[in-house]
Every structure is written in structure tokens, then in C-alpha cells.
Amino acid sequence: MKPSFDILIVGIGGQGTVLASNVLGEACIIEHRTVRSAETHGMAQRGGSVESHIRIGGEFGSLIVPGTADLLIAFDLLEALRYRHYLPTGGKLVVNRHLVVPTSVYQQDLAVPDEESILAALADLDVTCIDAAGLAEEAGSILSQNIVMLGAASGVIPLRPDTLEEAVRRCVPQKTIEVNVRAFHLGREAGEQGAGAP
């Protein structure tokens, strides 16, 4: 029995996966819990597929082994598919209903992936699908999608909601605190409703 609650956050370089992971780490500090996490830096950040591992209560290494994650948060549908093997059968996925087609698809003339077929390929998981862009705009900035996603997943994360909200306040730029706190709450409501599960 592993002692940690293991979350994998995946997306595309530039979508703010690292900030989302920082909020979780900061929340662990507030609750005096140990935490380990791993990030993508360097060249791989340039528009490529990125992953952040966060192990709440972790005491050993920072890496999560495929098949053992407790939660997968995906900022892009295709990235959800790419990393779904980190979840066990029927595992919990919170995914943004958003798809950026990789330039490689056009360059190499591959089949263009589409939303419906990806969602079908994820259907055996416990999926919560979120319109992060819409909720972020409602919160006041399209840039708050990462915090919307975090809010949407927060119901299954073993950290108190008020702790997470405080961590959001500590981690985001001063000028954007109110927008991001709104984004967190809108995401949380949407997550609780299981919004738009396919």
C-alpha cells in the first residue's frame, strides 16, 4: 500500500502545468504534509508534451510509475490519451475538452485526431470532462484555465479546499489572485457536477 496520493498533470509546454503543480505543493506545505514532485524543464518545454508528477504525502522519489497514479489531470485531450496508462483500470481522469493538433500531424501527414474518437478511447476511465476555456473566461481571464482544471479535480484530491484556495493565492501573480480564485471555484463546481462526462 503506497502512502502517497499520486497525481499526474499533463499538457503542452506553456499551458501552465507547472503552476498547477506548484499550487498542490504549496498546499502540502500549508497542511504540513510531505510532498515530492517532478517537472519538465529545458528544451522539452518548447510546445512539446509535458508532464508534472506530484506525490502528496510522498517520502521517496518524485516519479510516479505507470499504472499506479491516483488521478490524471490533462489540459489537452490528446495528452490524456498519451498518458492514460499511468492510471489503473477505471482510474480517475479530469480532462479539458480541448484539443491542439500537433504540428507533426500536418508535417508527417498523419491522421488528424478528433475529440469524439479520443473521448471514446478514454471511456473506460472515470472521466470528468471540463470546458476550461469557457470557465476561465467566465472567471475573467483565459489564462486561468490551469486553475480551473485544478479546481475541477480538487474534489478527489486529499487536501482541504480552503488550503488549496490559499495555495492559489500564494502561487499566482498578485494582480491575478481574484481571477484565479474565481477560476478555482468555478472549476470546483463543474467538477462536482461531473460536468459533461461523455
Partner: protein, 589 residues
Amino acid sequence: MAVRYLLGNEGIAHACLEANIDFASGYPGTPSSEVIDVLRVQGERPFTVEWSTNEKVAFENALGAAWCGLRALCTMKHVGLNVAADPLMTSAYTGVTGGFVILSADDPFAHSSQNEQDTRRYAHFARLPCLDPASVQEAHDMMRDAFALSEEFSLPVIFRPTTRICHSKGDVDLGEIGTEHRTAAFHRNPKQYVVIPAHTRVLHKILNEKQPALKERLVELGYNRHTIRGKTAVVASGAAAAYVREVLGADVSLAVIGAYPIDDEWLRAFVDRHEKVLVIEELDPVVEEVVRQVATKTEVLGKMTGTVPFEGEFTPATVAAAMREAGIASTMAFPAAAPVPGVPPRPPILCAGCMHRPTFYAMRKVFRDGIFPSDIGCYTLGLQLGAVDTTICMGASITVGSGIARSGEERPVISTIGDSTFLHTGIPGLLNAVYNGADMVVVILDNRITAMTGHQPNPNTGMTATGVESIPISLEAICRSCGVSWVETVDPYDLPVLLDTLRRAKERKGVRVIIAKQPCVITARRSGIRRKAYEVDPERCTGCGACRSFGCPAIAFAGKNATITELCAGCGVCADICPSGAIGREGRQ
């Protein structure tokens, strides 16, 4: 002081502040860069911090400071230590006065590197102590104490974190930032600092005589430690030790190696008490070789028996598999979990609006049969555009290119090198190419910054590491003083001029240099430069696919027809490429 959630490199940087550091230098390189990046912007402890022009330069600057009695740090990635290997080897002979720590970050799996070399080999080669932390907290604690260790033995100390230490985060217990500062004073001592043969022979003996006490001290300090629990044992080092602890059964002994050289007697006593020992370490079998040397009757398993992989990065699953293979119980069995096949890849890609893309595009247009040696930087991603034929190490684009040109290969050679890489080790190669009469084109990709590693300033940026305005340098004047007579500077966003410049270069002989100059699109955006986005007029788009070959991530396709997404940075080059004139600035119609 406080527990904070920090990146390994942030914890390491804070430890330097706690240890009363007075001098830090480095050259950026993933995964090491954030250490200097933290030190250069922190305002809590004033001291000298610099980004140097290359790792050898950084090393020798820090060595000079340590010879003046200061506590000094120099940082680099593992391959940077190759560049600094010359002073490294002999600094072990001369030793130091102030504590001197060399941080050389290894990158198992080569996440962002050209090889998987193991810095611990350099430590052995130079006979220097090497610290190999297993966690972010240990990295902090080891770095805090490394300066004192250096002073105790008057030796430089190598500090070797790996990617999963540098770029992992965790709760780190920090100490107070030191407030003591030393006054630099160089005391003339030719027998130590002037390594003529008569002096160096003596110094070599002194270095060797330090080894036994050093080995014992690393055990005393608790860096090398063990717990005896049964008849089988695992010996592990670095990040792999954390993975072992995660899965190790309660009846298996464990020795953790956190520092080198390893005390042979201490290790023999441990190994001798077991029937079977499995050695688990990433990269080279450095620990395993010592275990094999000291083992008398114990069965030793590891890389050399095929039980543990030689290459790549480990996970708890790798470790559990090796333990199963060795017949050692692990507490966790990991499920076989393979990725879904056929998911389209999403590799890193040059940004929308990156100045390198039009440069590569134009090179391929003008030099259809060209050979394209390239270098280390974001622009290595030009591979995807068919404009990178070789990459081996920093500065090698010009030298490999002139070698190809002078070997008798008749096709034109066009080398590409970034501004920081050119200043790092490109200049001697350019000088050599001119001196020896090579026929080649060198394109300096001048984006004004060291972009790939996180936008560190270099002498071409006009600003030092600490934000002080620096004396402007001229790449053009450097090239001319190397003897290049044909040097042209061009804006790569201006595709017709860029193409024309390349065509004119093609007609000439000798070494021709083109400086393609435009700020990195990321730094430009951060500094407030906004360009209006472009759009496709669907009426005029014929679906010809000319823009597809440009490979910009802001260009998407609905069927055959192009569209431009919100990623557009407004460079406008695609508008010059489109043969139907279908692409224009937003709101043009």
C-alpha cells in the same frame, strides 16, 4: 528556519547562501541552470555572481576566487565539465584555500543532453571527492556542508545532482542565510599555484596521500551509510537510492552511497556479511566496480550481470524489476502498463514566430544540396525542418563544417550556431576556418539571449547576470577580426532580403558569415513587443501546402486549407511564403 516547497536547484542555491558563499559562476545547461538563476536575482546576500562565457572560463574564475580564500561555486551540466576538464584535473593538485564546489549536473535518459556521461567518473579520474544526493533535502544539506569539506581537505569538491534531483520539488527544511563575508586575499605561493614539473610532482603525491582520510571522512559524515537486516543486500546511490527505499522489503539490508571515493574497508565489512548483493545505480557501474573489488565470497549482481540497465533513467518499477531478477523481495509489484499505441507525437518544436524557422527555411531554399552542420541550442530543433545534419557538442558546427568543407566533399556547407554558443566555443573554430582557407557559410542565429536553458543573458545581450548593463560587443567585429571579409547582418523576418543574402553568399568563396538577428520571440513578448497576428483569407487559399513545409505551430489545417491559430506571434513570414497572397495581417480586409 522554515520548510518550503522548492525545486532541487532552488534548495541547492539556498544552501550556498547558508554556507556564506562569496563567488558563483557558471554556464547555463539543463538541468543545472536554475542554481545561478536563483543566486543572481536573490537580494538577500550580496556577493559576486556571473554567467561566464563557457564552463572552463567559469571554472577558472571560481578557482581564482577560491585561491583568494573565498567560498566559491561554479555550475554546469555534465558535458560542460568536459569543457572545464583541463583546469579540473590540475586543480586537484593545487588544491584550494577557500571552499570550492563544482556542480556538474548529470542527465540520465538525456532528457535535454547529447549524452549520458557520468560525472562520478571525472571525480575518480581527478581524485576529487564527489557528493551524489538521493533527494532534494539531501542535496540542500550536502551543498550546505560541501564548502567546509572542501576546506578541510583543501580540495575542490564535485557536487553531482541528476535531473530528478535538480528538477524535482519537495518540502525542504532550510537554514538561515549566512551573514559572514570573507575578504579576498591572494597569498603568493608558487609551489602550490605554479605547476611547473618540479612543483607538480610533489603536489601529485600530496593529492594521493589525502585519499585514505577522505574516504573515512565521507563515512563519518554519514554520506555513505548502511542498515543490516538480512543475508541479502542492495547497494544504491543517488536518486536510485530513493526508488530502492520505496520498494525494499523489511528483511533486506541496504547501503546508500552518497559520496566518493568509497571507503573500501567499510564497504568490504558490509558486503562480507551478505550472501548476495545487488548494486543499483543510474549510468555507469561506479559503485558496482568497487563492490566487486572488495567482495571476497559474496555474489554480486548489477549492470555487469545484466540485472540492472546501463542506460537511461530509473523508476521504482525499474528497481523492482531488477530486484525480482536478482531474487530479492520487493514490497510492490507494478502492473504492466503500456502507452496507447499510435498517438501522434508531440515533440518540442520551435515556437511560433521563432527567428530560427525562416532562417532554416531560407537555407533549404537556397542551398538545396547543402550540408548543414549545427550546434547546441533551441535551433537543434531545426532537425524537424531538414536543416540540421550534425550536432555533437558546443561550438562544433563551425569546426565540423570546415572539416567537411576541407575534406573534399563538394556540396556547399552551411553551419548554424547561436550567439551564446558562438561566444562559448565558436570563435576559435571560425578563426581556424579562415586561417586554413575553408569554403563555407556560417549563419550566426543571433537571438540576443541564451534561450533554451531559460533565457540567461550573455555578452551579446547587453546585460550581466545580475542585471547590470554591460559593454556592447559586436558579433560582426568579432567575425571581421577573425579574418572574415564578407559579413552581412539580416533580419530573418524579412524573407526576401534573407533569401537574397543567402544567394549572394552562395556566389562567393572563402568563409562567409551571415548574422541573422532578431530577439527570441519569448523574450520579445516579455519585454512588451506585440505584433499583430496574421490570418488566412479562405477565398484565396488554394490549399497548395506551401505554408505546411514552413512547420509553424500556429498554422493548422482544416482539410487542405490553412488557418492561423491564436499561437500566431505576428512574424509575418508565412505571408511571404504563400504564393496566392492569402495570408495577411488580421483586419487587413
